[in-house]
């Protein structure tokens, strides 16, 4: 990885992003011309590249940092976003007549294992005094869950944006979202090596990121116009998804470390990760002033 | 191998195979150019001809293996073929090759008997790849024998055999023919063999049968019979072997 991955030694900042992450807008507007961009289909794929040294910095949802920590990947969390609780939800078909999450007792629920929605499921079950045994969980990736959901092979689907927005077709209703249950933040991860070797580039990049994000929140219509073609999603859907999911950036505080630690502990209890991980040492607030 | 009893020739009956106006060409090369032929039950016909004159081609047509030949072929009764190459299935042992497709009970005994007749009783468990050229040819002959067909189509069945084994096989052929009375078309290069075994000799040349002659010798036959010499000379003549050429070779 260190030897031949594009631009490793050219001193360029290697940025990993996901299609619907906040970084997409920076990429789409071409605001960071000195960065080398790499697209990843999921958070775990991105942390894998981080581990291999193929990228310096990247952005993921709230579950991947926990698993990356459990996998002894060396990284630091240097930034996050405001909570996005409306960016994930439980979807059901209207025709089935479910009115509350409790109605899903004994029903099949599709979700992606080990993602933010898995944490949401934990919180939902907790809130309704249910356990995993009360529902029939089908672990499906978004691309597989969609046809399964559309064809009524599952009763409910817990999903995040933009798949969430795409699935909001006539006849589909939101049974619940993460409001009051989970924060569903985005996290900015860097490799310790990059932190040492390219601190100034990272700082510059974060500044750009913040500026662009703030611009996007201030100009939602233009943001939609720029991002829709990049995402290959039609403009109304893009607008709806961005409106609830694109939140300002925020510095990493000890509270945020605690929040992640709670998720990690929850996953440990579910045996999704083999042993307890310590999040606090991974949180690094040295760029906090950029987000304040 | 010893159940049927009809012996000797029985003409007058319906032929076991009739070919009329058979033609075959490969590309521009016409190999058979209107061949007519009939073999009656029990008759042994020797087919002679130069190398590449179409003997094997004709035999394949009579066996019904050449869909591209034109003409009219009528076959009656069962056939067995010994090809010019042995064509043993390499993945079957000798006994398996001989018994291939033989129905009914007692197959094992019959196969063992046929192998014994060709002198290979002990090689029944050998693979074809382990046989010598002559042994493979004898196995192929045994494979035809064990079928007790009405017509045997034999393409140089004894070509790879030494003098002694060849004699034994010729004797065996004569004996079995006397016992079972099958008809046979025997492609051979050996004029003596043709005269020893056949009731009739055909010579194929330029795509046609240019000679069709009875062999007017009494049986049992021997090469030192006085009638043998002229017949041999005539046949060799037909085949293009001229007396002054015969046997002149070397420095």
């Amino acid at each position: 990885g260190e030897d031949d991955s594009a631009g490793a030694d050219s001193g360029k900042l290697l940025v990993g992003y996901q299609r619907f992450g906040g970084l997409s807008l920076v990429k789409a507007r071409g605001e960071a011309p000195d960065a080398t961009w790499s697209l990843f289909e999921s958070g775990p794929a991105l942390t894998e590249a981080l581990k291999a040294g193929a990228i310096d910095i990247g952005q993921v949802g709230e579950a991947p940092p926990v698993f990356a920590a459990a996998g002894k990947i060396k990284f630091r969390i240097i930034g996050t976003s405001e909570p996005v609780p409306q960016g994930e939800a439980v979807l059901v078909k209207e025709a089935k007549g479910f009115r509350s999450f409790a109605d899903l007792k004994g029903r099949t629920v599709a979700l992606n294992k080990g993602s933010n929605v898995n944490w949401l499921l934990v919180k939902l079950l907790e809130a309704h005094q249910m356990t995993l045994a009360d529902i029939n969980v089908k672990y499906l990736k978004p691309a597989e869950a969609r046809p399964a959901f559309d064809n009524d092979q599952v009763d409910a689907w817990i999903i995040w944006d933009p798949y969430f927005a795409l699935a909001e077709q006539p006849g589909v209703k939101i049974l619940a979202d993460a409001t009051g249950l989970a924060s569903n933040r985005e996290y900015i991860l860097v490799s310790p090596e990059a932190l040492e070797r390219k601190p100034d580039q990272i700082r510059e990049f974060l500044k750009t990121y913040r500026t662009v994000t703030d611009w996007g929140i201030a100009n939602p219509a233009e943001r939609t116009k720029i991002l829709a073609p990049e995402l290959k999603i039609d403009e109304p859907t893009t607008a709806r998804a961005l409106a609830r999911s694109a939140k300002p950036l925020a510095p990493v505080t000890p509270e945020i470390g605690a929040e992640l630690q709670a998720i990690a502990d929850g996953f440990t209890k579910l045996e999704l990760i083999p042993e307890r991980v310590e999040i606090a040492p991974l949180v690094d607030d040295r760029f906090g002033e950029v987000f304040r | 191998m010893a159940t049927r009893t009809t012996g000797g020739l029985s003409t007058a009956t319906r032929p076991v195979v009739t070919a009329r106006n058979v033609r075959r060409s490969f590309g521009a090369a016409v190999v058979l150019d209107g061949v007519d032929l009939a073999i009656v039950p029990g008759e042994v016909v020797a087919l002679l001809g130069g190398s590449g004159s179409g003997k094997s081609t004709l035999l394949r047509i009579l066996a019904g293996l050449d869909p591209e030949a034109t003409g009219e072929i009528t076959r009656a009764g069962s056939q067995a073929v010994v090809f010019q190459e042995h064509r043993l299935l390499p993945w079957k042992r000798v006994a398996g090759n001989v018994s291939l497709g033989v129905p009914g009970p007692g197959v094992r005994q019959r196969v063992a008997a046929a192998l014994a007749e060709v002198g290979l009783a002990e090689r029944d468990r050998a693979w074809p790849a382990e046989l010598s050229g002559g042994q493979a040819q004898r196995v192929a002959f045994a494979r035809a024998l064990v079928r007790e067909p009405a017509l045997m189509l034999l393409d140089e069945p004894f070509g790879a055999l030494d003098a002694l084994t060849r004699l034994k096989m010729q004797t065996l052929f004569g004996r079995l023919h006397a016992e079972h009375g099958f008809a046979a078309l025997l492609v051979t290069h050996d004029v003596d063999e043709a005269l020893l075994l056949a009731d009739r000799t055909l010579v194929l040349d330029s795509g046609r049968i240019v000679e069709d002659a009875e062999v007017p010798l009494p049986r049992p036959r021997a090469v030192d019979h006085p009638g043998f010499g002229p017949l041999r000379r005539h046949l060799l003549d037909r085949l293009g072997v001229r007396p002054d050429q015969d046997g002149a070779a070397g420095t």
């Binding site: 990885g1 794929a45 969609r146 | -």
Partner: protein, 279 residues
């Protein structure tokens, strides 16, 4: 058992040109007959879509897919993606294929090569691409080399195994004959081993082509912005079934085209063969 074959003699003075002509006729007839099933499948699918048997949200009609294809072809998207995929597949196939040929030949020809090369290959052949991606990222990074490595890996095994088997299947008697003709090891490989193993090599190539594309789809999921695999997997994520189907159709077409190409090559190089004629 009386079986009678009566063919009215066609009475052509020279049978030769006649035969040849009829051969030509059947060959072109066969070519058309080969189109029957694919066309029938398309027609059935369209009919099912139009009669409502197959609602568009389950499976879009072929015409809809064709329209999507036309749209993407016109704006150049399809061309770009196809070209990138073809480039990756081509390079990966070349690398994996050459490696497989060399190693397969080593293992097939030399006993020592067999003992040293074959066991690790046998170990590696079951390794799933998806599982290898993390390791490959460490070794070759996430750039083009990752995709090419995956294609090379996918193409390697069919060619390796078919090379190996093709060489092992060669009639030893012919090799002996070549040796007595004074051919050295290299000349023997060129004149006997290679042509003898050629049918098997073609089969390997056929399978490798398929494997290369399959691998590419996995590869184009990691940090790719272009490629048919990327196009399709992206469409799949966003449930754009028509684009997914377009991708599948492109693959199907590639399958048919490569089959035609290989058939043509086979026809040119294997004229000497008399296989079992299908009847």
């Amino acid at each position: 058992m009386t079986d009678t074959l009566v063919e009215t003699a066609r009475g052509a003075p020279a049978a030769a040109p006649d035969t040849r002509r009829s051969g030509g006729r059947t060959r072109s007839a066969r070519r058309w007959r080969r189109a029957v099933t694919p066309v029938a499948l398309l027609v059935l699918w369209q009919a099912a879509a139009q009669t409502g048997l197959l609602p568009p949200e389950k499976l879009p009609a072929p015409i809809a897919v064709a329209q999507t294809g036309w749209r993407l072809a016109r704006d150049g998207t399809l061309g770009v993606h196809l070209l990138d995929s073809l480039t990756r597949a081509g390079i990966g196939l070349a690398i994996g294929g050459i490696l497989a040929l060399v190693l397969g030949a080593t293992a097939g020809l030399l006993r020592l090569g067999d003992d040293l090369v074959d066991p690790p290959v046998q170990m590696a052949r079951m390794l799933p691409h998806l599982g290898l991606v993390p390791l490959l990222i460490i070794w070759v990074g996430i750039g083009e080399s990752l995709k090419i490595s995956l294609v090379a890996l996918g193409a390697f095994f069919p060619i390796y195994f078919n090379t190996y088997a093709g060489i092992r299947d060669i009639d030893e008697r012919l090799v002996e004959a070549a040796r007595t003709c004074g051919l050295g090891q290299l000349a023997r490989i060129r004149h006997v081993v290679l042509p003898g193993a050629l049918p098997s090599l073609f089969l390997g190539l056929r399978l490798a082509l398929g494997a290369a594309w399959l691998s590419l789809v996995v590869g184009e999921q990691v940090n790719a912005q272009t490629g048919i695999g990327f196009l399709m997997m992206e469409a799949r994520e966003f449930s754009q079934t028509d684009v997914v189907l377009l991708g599948l159709l492109v693959y199907a077409l590639l399958g048919l085209l490569s089959d035609l190409a290989i058939r043509f090559l086979e026809g040119r190089t294997l004229t000497w063969r008399r296989g079992l004629q299908a009847v």
